[in-house]
């Protein structure tokens, strides 16, 4: 038997070259971005040659300029507030709603659950218009709350938590009920620890989504002081505030690198979290 036989050596080498080649292209844009941010304007726009691939002498002035000219301090603050607050509140609300759908019996449960599933399938361009109208009535226009409140519950988050909590044995909850625990205690002392991996996964999904959200923030914000990172990048891309390519790339580096850094530090959690949509076969 040849249970461990694979393809012949030349074939293996070709497959390795192709797959590794593809994997390395994932770094190219980001390396290029960092390299360009260290060049002078003249170097960056000169026709590319083997000699001009690397900056002749790294220039770091582009970074403070990017911070100033693109107003990055403010943008950073906004993105951090929006992503952090959204994550904390959305995970809590989705987890509680998921718990209710998983473990509580009440009238209309199936109908409500169907409504929740339906929201998952609807494309945002079918509802953003009246969502915007309602947001206006609620004072949620052109401020940070406008980018937080509509995301405090999501069909995906609720179903995801429901699925995680459903798997917890019913006996645990019955024992708690006999001890006279209220539903919130049951959630906190039994469901929360048992569903912790799912909660962590949902937190990562929520944070990345909020950090990268573009369409809705584009609709609800007008004034520059409420821009988040993706809006600022789009403006950079259109050359609104900054014309210099190296300064644009320095700004882009400052925006993209923190998340990439966190990703490399805890990539297992990221990969597991962001792909948990598809893991259930």
């Amino acid at each position: 038997m040849n249970a461990h036989r694979g393809p012949a050596l030349p074939a293996r080498l070709i497959v390795h070259a192709l797959v590794w080649g593809l994997a390395l292209t994932m770094l190219v844009p980001f390396l290029w971005m960092v390299l360009t941010s260290l060049k002078t304007d003249a170097e960056a726009t000169a026709p590319l040659s083997a000699a001009s691939l690397l900056p002749s002498r790294p220039v770091f002035e582009n970074y403070p300029r990017a911070f100033e000219e693109a107003g990055l301090a403010r943008v950073y603050r906004n993105s951090l507030i929006v992503a952090t607050v959204t994550t904390l509140l959305a995970v809590s609300h989705n987890a509680l709603a998921g718990y209710a759908f998983a473990k509580l019996r009440f009238r209309g449960r199936r109908l409500l659950l169907a409504c929740v599933v339906a929201t998952m399938l609807l494309p945002i361009q079918c509802y953003f218009l009246f969502a915007y109208v309602f947001a206006g009535r609620l004072g949620l226009v052109d401020n940070l709350q406008a980018m937080i409140v509509p995301f405090l519950a999501s069909g995906f988050g609720i179903l995801f938590m429901r699925q995680a909590i459903q798997g917890i044995p019913e006996d645990l909850f019955d024992a708690g009920r006999l001890d006279g625990m209220r539903e919130l205690d049951l959630f906190w002392t039994i469901a929360r620890p048992a569903a912790w991996p799912a909660i962590a996964a949902l937190a990562i999904i929520s944070f990345v989504n909020a950090w990268n959200a573009f369409f809705w923030p584009l609709i609800v914000t007008d004034s520059p002081e409420h821009r988040t990172l993706p809006l600022a990048i789009a403006e950079l891309s259109a050359g609104v505030y900054v014309q210099s390519w190296p300064v644009q790339m320095a700004a882009a580096t400052l925006m993209v690198l923190p998340l990439i850094g966190v990703f490399f530090l805890c990539q297992r959690a990221f990969v597991r979290g962001l792909t948990s949509t598809g893991l259930k076969e």
């Binding site: 494309p123 509802y127 309602f134 990969v271 962001l274």
Partner: protein, 279 residues
């Protein structure tokens, strides 16, 4: 029940009711001020005559048909290679491929736009060095803007699909290898006839969710080309946004209804397949 009140209110106010009203608004003419005027199906007949919407529909369908199957099949092949016992550097490859998934599409479009810049970018000078005399102006000429948007999208999404396939392959365990051994199947034949059928549920999941996501493409178009030149790379969602910005709200809603119908078809694909597998 108290747990549900706020989350359900959010979904109701920001998703469900707006969708219903949006579908209704497709039968009206409205600029945002005053009251909407009922015009029956006129938005929809205008939709059929509108050159921009026609181009957007064509481009959106091309985008779905080009990105989704290619990404899925390429991801299956890559995942099979990475999953093989003889593959070296599995963890590193997985991390690298997954990297663009966490970076915002806006940032990715922005950086690629520069890589594709004719003079100062990376792609065209490289091609010139390799002997291509006159590489096209990627984001300005002929079919290239759509081609670039499609390739960058595949590049960004492949890692996500690879990771999903890898977990499906891991779940299959050794049984596949044994079955293939009995069949005497090797190499690509084995991939096609033994492994591929066993991950079909993953494939259908990736195709359906991929198609639903691809129909909604917006960010990358907004940043890379803004639909230009002369609507060569516009897509449905970009036209929704454009008409919204111009105050043609009824017309924007009608395009939204078209998108909803297409999305429902893509979703039905998955359910139909699931039912078929169940019986």
């Amino acid at each position: 029940m108290g747990f549900l009140a706020f989350p359900l209110a959010v979904l109701l106010v920001f998703t469900l009711i707006p969708t219903a009203l949006g579908v209704g608004l497709s039968l009206f003419q409205w600029t945002g001020g005053g009251s909407p005027r009922y015009i029956g199906s006129m938005n929809f007949s205008a939709l059929l005559d509108d050159d921009r919407v026609g181009a957007a529909l064509r481009n959106s369908l091309i985008y779905v048909l080009a990105t989704v199957p290619l990404t899925t099949i390429a991801a299956f092949l890559v995942a099979s290679a990475v999953h093989a016992r003889w593959f070296r550097g599995r963890a590193a490859v997985r991390t690298l491929l997954f990297l663009p998934t966490i970076v915002s599409i806006v940032a990715i479009g922005f950086v690629w736009r520069w890589l594709l810049n004719d003079r100062a970018g990376l792609v065209s000078p490289l091609l010139r060095a390799l002997g291509v005399a006159a590489p096209p102006r990627w984001l300005e000429e002929g079919p290239w803007p759509m081609v670039c948007i499609i390739l960058v999208s595949i590049w960004r999404q492949i890692g996500f699909c690879v990771v999903i396939y890898l977990s499906a392959l891991a779940a299959l365990g050794a049984s596949v290898d044994e079955a293939a051994e009995l069949d005497g199947a090797t190499g690509l034949r084995r991939l096609r006839h033994v492994t591929f059928p066993r991950v079909s549920r993953t494939t259908v999941f990736l195709l359906a969710t991929g198609a639903i996501g691809a129909l909604q493409v917006f960010d990358i178009v907004y940043v890379m080309t803004a639909g230009e030149p002369t609507r060569a790379s516009t897509v449905l969602n970009y036209e929704v946004y454009r008409n919204f910005s111009m105050g043609s709200l009824g017309f924007a809603s009608a395009i939204g209804v078209l998108l909803l119908a297409l999305t429902a078809m893509a979703g039905a694909l998955q359910f139909a397949r699931r039912r078929g597998a169940a019986s």
